[in-house]
């Protein structure tokens, strides 16, 4: 279906030209004036994919369209391209950009560049805001849409529906992914058919959808209608959904509404699925897997869920810690769910409402996402280590409206559940009393790197210029000022503090700004340090030259506060991302190329030291891999990604690295050890983990996190009779369970100095009989299933 472009230009011939150039791959609507354009957009914005608008110097009307557009909730999805003449006033273009124009074309037009630009903008905007499979809004787009609707149309009540397909995973597994995809597409089609012109639908997760609409009926009726209609029989399989609905009366913030709808969905699922629930009318209790008592705080089970029963408990915990508040994270969404009185006043607020407003949208980017290695490790230690370790998270909260205010805070992760929900409890000041309380309930914590304000060097001769810029920027940035070449060079060369950006006034000290830039480039400094140029009103500078010398962007007088802030922010982001990527690339290259070899060498050295032949390590790795394969096929309650499986197999080769700390003679003669000496050998578990934790990249590598848990716990046993921590059942990380079993198995089937190898079938019998300790029945099944393969790969001696 052809896309429609709205062409706004008061010149008939100009409209003819651009339309002729773009050709008949699009349909066109023409408007002669800004007012006409606005009234067309008001009625028909759903049909229109792009607005092409002329930027005429004198006529203010065209900008009026852009200003109007900005205030419409749907406008972030409406791309606009300006048409400008060659030699058009850059300030005019600036204004257009600030009003949200995506791109511009200059006359005289050339056919291919015009067509490509239009195509690019259309497709990029669409792709960036829509889910590829279902062509519904994606998560970002719907969030923006919802926020804007709530903020711009404050008198309208909206409803948010969250729904997902019941048993989608099973459907995918049993009928295949193609079938699953078709289901999603069908659902999207049905949703579109049910929605009115003011409703939007989005796909925000694998099989999770949101519908957002103005409320025109009872929530109950809306939900019922949707839930009734969104079920069908697809090729022999019954498809139906669970659905939660919440009103904007509960919250006029996207995240708030989302959380409410999500809670309602949770209730619907808890009550048996294939139904809907309205937030605020929960009248049935949710099934729990564990009952929670205060005593459990120390040893929080890994099955805790956030619901009406557990919430008061969380409240009690937080209330006992000054300045505490709780953020609830599900997937990538963060919601504030509780704040205690002290915290409210500590942040300079008077009520919880105000606090919510103050911290609205603040937590993004401030709280580490749950998949960062540090947090993952803390999480796995939490689950398996019985709350022995916390992570301290330091971040800033920024006031959303008005001035920027930076408040530092320390956060403690106190709990997570296997459903991926994460609670953070943030405590403002760690006083001794708080510290003690935390120590009582948990052990040590791992401090994290400090987050600093970016530091900007402001190099300009005139004091007013410096002051103006400093006042715009000094909130979120630390400003260092210099007023001449010497001072600037001195700061760059000899300065102790690290700089994140230079704001360089081109006119400084008689126009030497460009010379300085040249010197920076000569020393290759512009690669790592963004240089932002500052131009005066009358500077006639060779922009091309400036950019070729490595300047990243510019701001010019008179300053526009927003433009300056935004440009600086963008430039810093860009550089930060580039250096992060370079760093990651470095690390990855290191990983992929060297890790395998290094690990291989290490493990052979270790085995040699213990009197082995090197074969044992490869066998353990092989058995680990076989067990993993079987497990991934058989039991889906263990969530292991392919990448993790590879890492586990690799890490299995160094599970006994702790042996390096054990005297050689003990390793070679295990039958001749006293009880003390045997205990010493057992410490290879803890020693190995300790060695790994001392590695320089420990915090950053998933491999070392997995290897750590394998080293520490591969001698734990299913019934709790293992060592060193007497973990039991599935509180032993699955990676350690697998390697533990592989280790025991290979010990039996390998040659020893005191006995010859045992056959595969006998070894399995022995393990089943419990002669090597108790193992996870599921894993034992997997081991059995692998018998023939193992016999084939490692023939009996």
């Amino acid at each position: 279906m052809k896309k429609t472009i709205l062409v706004v230009d008061d010149s008939f011939i100009d409209r003819r030209i651009i339309i002729a150039l773009l050709g008949n791959q699009y349909d066109y609507i023409e408007a002669q004036t800004g007012h006409e354009a606005i009234s067309i957009l008001e009625k028909r914005h759903r049909e229109i994919s792009l607005v092409l608008i002329d930027l005429v110097i004198e006529d203010v009307e065209e900008l009026a369209v852009l200003k109007w557009l900005k205030r419409q909730p749907w406008s972030h999805n409406m791309p606009t391209i300006a048409m400008a003449s060659n030699g058009c006033d850059p300030l005019r273009l600036e204004s257009a950009y600030m009003l949200g124009v995506n791109d511009y074309l200059t006359r005289p037009f050339a056919v291919h560049s015009v067509r490509q630009r239009v195509y690019n903008t259309l497709n990029l905007t669409h792709k960036a805001s829509h889910d590829a499979l279902t062509d519904l809004y994606n998560r970002d787009a719907v969030e923006q849409y919802v926020e804007r609707s709530l903020n711009l149309n404050t008198h309208i009540e909206y409803a948010m529906v969250m729904l997902d397909i019941d048993h989608f995973k099973e459907i995918n597994d049993s009928r295949g992914h193609a079938f699953g995809d078709t289901t999603l597409v069908n659902l999207a089609t049905r949703m579109r058919a049910l929605l009115g012109p003011n409703d939007v639908a989005a796909r925000i997760g694998g099989d999770e959808f949101i519908i957002f609409m103005p409320v025109e009926d009872e929530l109950d009726h809306i939900a019922k209608r949707l839930q009734d209609q969104l079920k069908w029989n697809q090729d022999g399989t019954e498809i139906h959904c669970s659905l939660g609905i919440a009103s904007s009366k509960e919250s006029r913030v996207y995240k708030g509404m989302l959380q409410c709808a999500d809670r309602a969905l949770y209730i619907a699922k808890g009550n048996g699925r294939n139904q809907y629930a309205v937030y605020g009318t929960q009248n049935k209790s949710v099934e729990e897997k564990n009952n929670l008592t205060e005593d459990d705080m120390h040893g929080l089970g890994n099955m805790m869920v956030l619901n009406e029963q557990t919430l008061p408990f969380i409240h009690r915990v937080t209330d006992s810690m000054p300045g505490g508040f709780v953020i609830y994270q599900k997937d990538a969404n963060l919601t504030l769910i509780h704040v205690n009185e002290v915290a409210i006043s500590m942040y300079g607020c008077e009520t919880e409402q105000e606090f919510r407003k103050f911290t609205e949208n603040s937590f993004e980017g401030m709280v580490l996402p749950a998949d960062l290695p540090q947090v993952q490790q803390a999480i796995s230690l939490q689950i398996n280590g019985r709350n022995k370790n916390f992570d301290t998270v330091e971040f800033r909260i920024r006031r959303k409206d008005g001035d920027l205010r930076w408040v530092e805070n320390h956060g403690r992760l106190i709990h997570t559940s296997t459903y991926g929900d994460v609670f953070y409890v943030f405590i403002k000041d760690i006083t001794e009393a708080v510290e003690q309380r935390l120590q009582q309930t948990a052990g040590t914590f791992i401090p994290m790197q400090e987050v600093k304000k970016p530091r900007i060097l402001l190099a300009a001769s005139e004091v007013e210029h410096r002051e103006a810029l400093a006042s715009i920027l000094s909130g979120p940035y630390e400003i260092v000022e210099t007023d001449g070449i010497d001072a600037t060079v001195d700061c760059l060369v000899n300065g102790k503090q690290q700089l994140d950006m230079i704001l360089l006034d081109v006119e400084m000290s008689g126009n030497v700004g460009m010379d300085i830039l040249q010197r920076l480039k000569a020393f290759d400094l512009t690669d790592k340090l963004p240089v932002m140029l500052v131009f005066g009103e009358n500077t006639s500078t060779d922009m091309a030259k400036a950019f070729s010398l490595g300047a990243v962007d510019y701001v010019s007088r008179p300053y526009d506060m927003d433009v300056v802030r935004q440009r600086i922010k963008n430039a810093l982001e860009l550089y930060k991302r580039q250096s992060e990527m370079a760093h990651k690339l470095e690390q990855q290259t290191f990983n992929i190329q060297n890790l395998d070899q290094i690990v291989g060498m290490l493990s052979h050295i270790m085995e040699y030291r213990s009197g082995g032949s090197g074969r044992r390590i490869s066998q353990i790795k092989m058995v680990t891999m076989l067990l993993l394969q079987r497990l991934l096929l058989a039991d889906t309650s263990y969530k292991i990604s392919n990448e993790e499986a590879e890492l586990i197999a690799l890490a299995s080769t160094i599970h006994d690295i702790g042996n390096l700390m054990v005297p050689e003679r003990y390793l070679n003669k295990p039958w001749n050890l006293s009880e003390e000496e045997a205990e010493l050998v057992k410490t290879h578990t803890v020693q190995g983990a300790k060695l790994l934790s001392s590695l320089p990249h420990f915090d950053n590598e998933r491999l070392t996190a997995i290897a750590w848990s394998i080293c520490q716990w591969h001698h734990e046993r299913w019934d709790g009779s293992g060592y060193p921590d007497h973990l039991q059942g599935d509180s032993i990380p699955i990676a350690a369970q697998i390697v533990g079993l592989a280790d025991a198995y290979c010990a039996l089937t390998g040659d020893k100095a005191y006995r010859s190898a045992i056959s595969h079938s006998k070894a399995i019998e022995m393990i089943v009989a419990g002669e090597c300790g108790a193992f996870n029945p599921v894993l034992i099944e997997c081991l059995r299933d692998c018998e023939t393969e193992m016999a084939r790969m490692m023939p009996d001696a």
């Binding site: 011939i13 150039l21 110097i57 003449s85 060659n86 005289p108 056919v111």
Partner: protein, 115 residues
């Protein structure tokens, strides 16, 4: 489309076609549309009425079109007129009126060449 005539009228047909994807039919269509365009007429009226603003906006628009359609001679002549009018100085209108003589000639040549 009579290339020779257009060329004599200061229209760079080759350059226009190169920019417009070598689509002769499209270009011819646009030339015919140009005949219906009223910016020139409005410009003359504005100059006669000494309305600087109106004159400027029409001259500017005309310049843009001339650029797009490669009316090189007309472009060259109207350029300075646009700059003079940009000053918004009503006093300049007499000079502009003089310049308009050549502009008018060029414009009429083009119209005739389009035929």
């Amino acid at each position: 489309m009579n290339r020779f005539k257009l060329h004599s009228a200061g229209v760079n047909v080759n350059s226009a076609l190169a920019r417009l994807g070598n689509d002769k039919a499209m270009y011819e269509g646009l030339l015919r549309d140009f005949i219906r365009d009223d910016h020139f007429v409005k410009l003359c009226e504005a100059v006669a009425a000494k309305d600087v603003n109106e004159a400027f906006s029409n001259a500017h628009a005309l310049k843009g079109v001339a650029g797009n359609l490669s009316f090189d001679r007309l472009s060259a002549l109207i350029g300075p007129v646009v700059e003079k009018l940009r000053t918004k100085d009503a006093g300049i209108m007499d000079e502009v009126a003089e310049d308009m003589v050549a502009v008018k000639a060029a414009y009429e040549q083009i119209i005739a060449a389009i035929g």
